[in-house]
Symmetry: C2
Subunit: 339 residues, 2 copies
């Protein structure tokens, strides 16, 4: 394991220390729980619906990087690939609650769901209003008829964006939740994995991908995909990814307008992400779809996994509007608003 | 080699095809030379000094990603880790020339320097005014007394930013060049490498880094560093990087204000970049320096190399001003201005 680490068991704490130093003007550690990072009160506009997420570490820039204007107010931070505790979710909810209620938007995994439910029960004892929406975009994680069981992967970013923009504009909790849920319902993703990843505290891969092959439909923690296939032609892989999403959206959707995100899973060179994005756009437009907006880069990663996540969001006018409103996710764009 | 490729010999063309599709509204391929990408005339404000760069591919998001408002107008694109041709530099200069002259800002390497000189000779035959500044921030590539021979690495981004902002504001060619050169003079970088990288058309690493070791002072193409050492403690590596830069800046500078950039070299998890950034900030502030602004992320990469580049820019009021003026580098921040 060639890694820049101190004590591998403390990697999340060390990362948070660094994150807080880099973004000292915008975020702070929650007094109540060291595994909760919030926007500073100076950075947070008063009187809005609070936006909270949480999840395991190892997906950077998710989720910390989506703190900022027009996006998240507080993040509960778990160990690598592990849910934050219920207490951490509760502390994040408390920190984000300005009396207008809190939208807790997170990826659908058993651990996160359980801890969020416990946190909400505690928050409701304090007379707080908390509503949730789970991202469930990974079409490989459950069949179409069980779509509500699917895991949330990179596509969850779209829901943070649209709901965050509406909250910023003064939307009510009910409106924010409705928009988040609509976004989540219309978001589908499929991943390919070319290499496993190494959890620092483990020190070796917890699954394998044989050289010369790739795994179609792999999850963000190495969850087994739909099939293993020879790693040959990139254009062919792009076509298979698009076909899988087209089939899942159904024919009625495929002439629609989409937001398209190609997210590297960690160690995928940007060169290859652009190469794949070009093929994917060609495939989609060849089938009559309109690619209305494109995002290419490392949006949600899986430590040092090599691979790609393709996400499509089927747009309507409302989603287009909230997708394009300004946002300043502080750990994304890498401070480049001002570079 | 686990890679998303078609024909490895065509990877640069395939990448450009994708880049042009993703950023179709903002950039176009130059009619005169397919290896030159320019801002569309609609995107380019009239009557300003043109800003051009060029270099080998494999460093994405550099250099294409720095096209955009307040930064570059045209980029000459080379093969992987190879200089663009003289003709490509010439075409980029022509495309960016609006009669106010062209600043050609690039990294100091023999191939690029030779081709730029040939391009300038041809451009001057056409009565164009072209001036150059070379980034020369890699302190490991030549000793202090030969600072002008040093290679340009990630720190070159700072020069593109300050000079780009001044050009955008209507600065003259002489003013833009002066600011670029001042920025370059005050920028120093040091890299550590934890793994080699694989050029797609070669298919295997062209150098090795033994597991359990890292190379201190490695270059952006695997140029040999100053020493190989056991890979142990990240905090210790951070201290060594800061010490090397402190020594090179000299004691008189070390109480100054710096812009600090931590750039991943390709496959370095953001988690580790933040961890290292935290230690680096602590080291710098512990020595009395002021870290005025921080940038963390993959700014200039080396394909799939694992490692980090630390850059410091010693600031003054003028540099602070131009560093913070708005810019919209289109392939950086990943379209996130509007996400």
């Amino acid at each position: 394991m060639q890694r820049l680490l101190n004590d591998p068991d403390r990697v999340v704490d060390d990362m948070l220390d660094g994150f807080l130093r880099v973004h000292a003007e915008s975020v702070q550690r929650c007094d109540e729980n060291p595994r909760v990072i919030t926007r500073t009160s100076a950075a947070q506009p008063p009187g809005k619906v609070g936006l909270v997420t949480g999840g395991g570490s190892g997906h950077e820039p998710a989720f910390l990087g989506y703190l900022g204007e027009g996006m998240l107010d507080a993040v509960a931070v778990g160990e690598v690939f592990s849910s934050p505790t219920a207490n951490a979710f509760l502390a994040a909810i408390r920190a984000a609650d300005q009396g207008q209620g809190v939208a807790c938007l997170f990826g659908n995994y058993a651990g996160d769901s359980m801890n969020v439910q416990m946190a909400i029960a505690m928050a409701e004892d304090e007379h707080r209003r908390v509503r949730i929406v789970k991202a469930r975009d990974d079409i490989a994680s459950a069949p179409h008829q069980d779509a509500e069981k699917r895991h949330g992967i990179a596509g969850g970013v779209f829901m943070l964006k649209t709901a965050g923009a509406l909250a910023q504009q003064g939307g009510t909790l009910e409106q924010v939740i409705q928009l988040a849920d609509k976004t989540a319902q219309r978001t589908r993703s499929i991943c390919v994995g070319l290499s496993p990843c190494v959890i620092p505290a483990v020190g070796k891969p917890n699954f394998t991908i044989a050289p010369g092959t790739y795994e179609f439909g792999i999850g963000h923690h190495g969850e087994a995909g739909q099939r293993v296939a020879p790693l040959e032609n990139a254009q062919d892989i792009a076509r298979q990814m698009v076909d899988a999403l087209r089939e899942d959206f159904g024919l009625q959707a495929e002439k629609g307008a989409f937001a398209m995100m190609v997210s590297g899973l960690g160690t995928t060179p940007l060169m290859e992400q652009y190469l794949m994005a070009g093929h994917i756009v060609d495939e989609l437009t060849g089938h009559g779809a309109q690619v209305w907006r494109l995002y290419v880069g490392d949006y949600v990663t899986s430590l040092d996994m090599n691979g790609l996540c393709l996400t499509l969001l089927l747009l309507d006018d409302e989603l287009k509007r909230f997708l394009t409103l300004p946002a300043a996710p502080l750990g994304l764009g890498l401070g480049l608003a001002s570079l």
